[in-house]
């Protein structure tokens, strides 16, 4: 089962009337969509508003989502159109060069994004990154390797089991314990987020 299938399962629940399931999708993709929208809109507040608007539009359009494409690809298109329409309505010209729709299925990291953080949130962001790096560095070797292979390198459980020469069940357990430790370390920085 892929992540896209998890998304689809959540989408089906929203389509059956479960609004709470949509919150999980928003939580999962809010940062990616914010990054995407920031390619069009420079102002931090406007960027957040447009991102929020894109999620609302997607919710309203969700009854007609058939699952022909991945949910994120579909959401990506809505966000791009929402950002462009916002610029047009504000009397500004959207960028002539369109974004590649293929990027929708990939991470949007590495592109030239605007830093939307205010000085305060930039400081918190910096602290959060420091805490996460420090916590990862202090993890026992086996946990650190497992979480790095999974989150940084994107290896599957099977691949990690092969690299670490251990059963898949052990890999699952190590990744879980690493996440548990990281979540605890992060909690002061993400409460209410």
């Amino acid at each position: 089962m892929s992540e896209a299938e998890v998304d689809l399962a959540l989408v089906r629940r929203v389509q059956q009337g479960d609004k709470q399931a949509y919150n999980l999708l928003v939580g999962k993709y809010q940062q990616k969509i914010l990054r995407l929208v920031s390619r069009f809109i420079r102002d931090s507040m406007e960027c957040e508003d447009v991102t929020q608007d894109a999620f609302i539009k997607a919710y309203r359009a969700l009854p007609n989502f058939r699952g022909d494409s991945a949910f994120y690809t579909w959401l990506y298109r809505i966000a791009v159109n929402t950002a462009k329409n916002y610029l047009v309505s504000a009397g500004r010209r959207p960028p002539a060069q369109d974004l590649d729709a293929q990027e929708a299925s990939n991470s949007v990291a590495g592109a030239s994004f605007v830093d939307l953080n205010t000085p305060e949130s930039a400081l918190m962001n910096s602290e959060l990154i420091t805490v996460i790096r420090k916590t990862i560095a202090e993890l026992p070797d086996t946990l650190r390797e497992a979480i790095v292979y999974r989150e940084f390198d994107g290896l599957s459980y099977e691949e990690i089991a092969e690299v670490m020469d251990c059963p898949i069940g052990t890999v699952r357990s190590r990744i879980f314990r690493a996440r548990e430790t990281l979540e605890e370390a992060m909690s002061p920085y993400i409460s209410g987020n």
Partner: protein
Amino acid sequence: MKNQTLSKLLDGDLSPDELERTLDRVLADPELQQSWHAQYTLRSVVQDDGIHTYCNIVENVATIIAEEPTLIAPDNLSPKRTDASVPVGNVVSILSKRSKVLALTAIAASFAAIVMVSYSPKKAINSTIANTAGTMSTSLAAEQELQAMIVQHGEFSGAAALNGLVAYAKVVNGSTVSDAR
């Protein structure tokens, strides 16, 4: 993070049955939901080198959609779930796209029929149009005038909402109908 199943969910490492059971648990447990959001924040940090802003998009969107009617997809878009998930609040049934097209086409056809019976050109053709289509006498000028009228008032018909569908009427006489048959 309270349990390993959520960790497996984040990695898409569950069977379809386990997936549904896990989603049921997550959706019923605010702590698991908090873990879900925390883990995706973690992922944004490690994969995208930081999070963008400390904003409350999840909360804001949740507040807005809580006010919205609960949307129910048509059955052909969404497979029936085995567990009973009864939506609460106002429920809006969404017509399928095909049903919408058929409904709008019917409206467009009704509009065209109204034009056919109410049209009154200056020429002598009008009385024959008002009788029966089979006995209409053909006039190219009258037909053009009729088309212009349909186009002019087309925005009021259902066809205006359909891409690529244009309201159209043709004046025919009895022999043409017989030939066509």
